[in-house]
Assembly symmetry: C2
Homo-oligomer: 229 residues x 2
DNA sequence: CCAATGAATTTTGTATACAAAATACGGAAG
DNA sequence: CTTCCGTATTTTGTATACAAAATTCATTGG
């Protein structure tokens, strides 16, 4: 007699589809503004329209896909306005995560944060952007884990997806990268001091700066695109 | 020749279903923990399973419905933990809305806030809970509108639904009601002063107090239920 | 009398079918 | 040549069909 069946259930197709499609969208393989051809995707994934459509509904709820009645699905565009609206929300949520985290942080977690910070600096110096991104994500994940609020964690995960796409569109500038590393020093300090209020403020600022840099990059990219036409 | 077709599109069934089901869930007609019988609902709404299932997926993304593979949908339960996780998020989001709103508030909007506040107090004195709730919602709506951030507005709307159900389960205590009215005085003051930081703080506190009162009420209700059994 | 096993029933996941709407295409009129 | 209109094609929304899994229920053995 078992108490927790641990659900050995095989996942339904639409759940797989959600993940695979999300990946395609976030990475830009399905580019913003693109029309989603149900039939084409059905053939590509070898499924029928029913599970595909259910997956599209989930992604629409996440904001990655826009569903227009009688005229199908498109990949959500990323406009400047979207980013300007989304980043402050992300900032508020991450700030909350930081505040909550400080109330729970264990010594082991703080030690881990120090290790990650050291690695982050080293990767910046070695110009290893891929590794840096991973370490960066790990630090944010550490904070979210320490916050110990699954609802917040889930909300951040889905909400972050909407925004992460933008980073695949432009590459970080050297100036912004250095500034981000500097900000991470402050983040670690606040973590070590378990100063929730301060950590929240820094995270908010960190994200606001990220937005500013991103918008600048996007404008440059747009200007270049215009010139080329 | 028109520039904006204004989309005279008839809404699909699943969109209607989402709204009607959400209403049933939020109002408690479909109670937390209840198993969702697809067939029964299909007959009740006279639709086939396809649009119903799509609607359930949307509601699952909102957190009102829980989908378990191979064993169907249930109405999401509201545990103490859920509320303890959700309210701080709601607080952070409303605080952000307050901050943003203060940057935009017009004199007309401030005047409207004063009118609503007067009405709120009158309705409290007349013990008109229904009217009070509507006015209360209008004040929060005014702030969200002034924040002028559709992404935030949408997020708050769906997220609020998860929590609003709890208020249908217990009725506000006289003590909490009076305290809420007092807090609204401070809210109006911050609005009049266009003090975003302060408005944010008060809203956060307002929501934290709401949570505390709600948890207390729920514990009382649970204790009563236990006694009766 | 209870537990366990297995067949009958229900429910779920997915595929397919079909009607209504939207889009693409092509020819005729200006 | 362009614009308009009507037809053909595609796409969307919904219903239905069917197989696999889960649940129910009765029966049997202990």
């Amino acid at each position: 007699m078992e108490h927790e069946p641990i659900a050995i259930t095989r996942r339904p197709l639409h759940d797989d589809l959600v993940e695979r499609l999300r990946d395609l969208i976030v990475r830009g393989t399905l580019p913003p503004g693109a029309k989603v051809q149900e039939q084409a995707l059905c053939e590509q994934f070898d499924v029928s329209r029913t599970p595909l459509r259910e997956a599209l509904r989930s992604l629409a709820a996440e904001g990655l896909v826009v569903l227009t009645p009688r005229r199908g699905a498109t990949i959500a565009r990323i406009t400047r306005q979207d980013l300007e609206e989304a980043f402050p929300i992300l900032g508020a949520l991450e700030a909350l995560a930081g505040e909550l985290a400080c109330a729970n942080l264990t010594d082991a977690q703080i030690a881990e944060a120090r290790r990650l910070q050291t690695r982050l600096v080293a990767q910046h110096e070695k110009n290893d952007l891929t590794g840096y991104s991973a370490t960066n994500a790990a630090i944010h994940q550490l904070i979210i884990t320490a916050a110990d609020n699954p609802t917040l964690s889930h909300l951040l995960k889905t909400f972050d997806g909407r925004v992460r796409r933008a980073r695949y569109m432009v590459n970080i500038s050297g100036v912004r990268w250095a500034a981000a590393v500097a900000e991470h020093v402050l983040i670690l300090e606040a973590i070590e001091a378990r100063d929730g209020k301060r950590l929240g403020e820094i995270l908010k600022l960190h994200i606001a700066n990220k937005l500013a840099a991103l918008l600048e990059q996007m404008e440059e990219a747009e200007a270049l695109a215009k010139e080329a036409s």
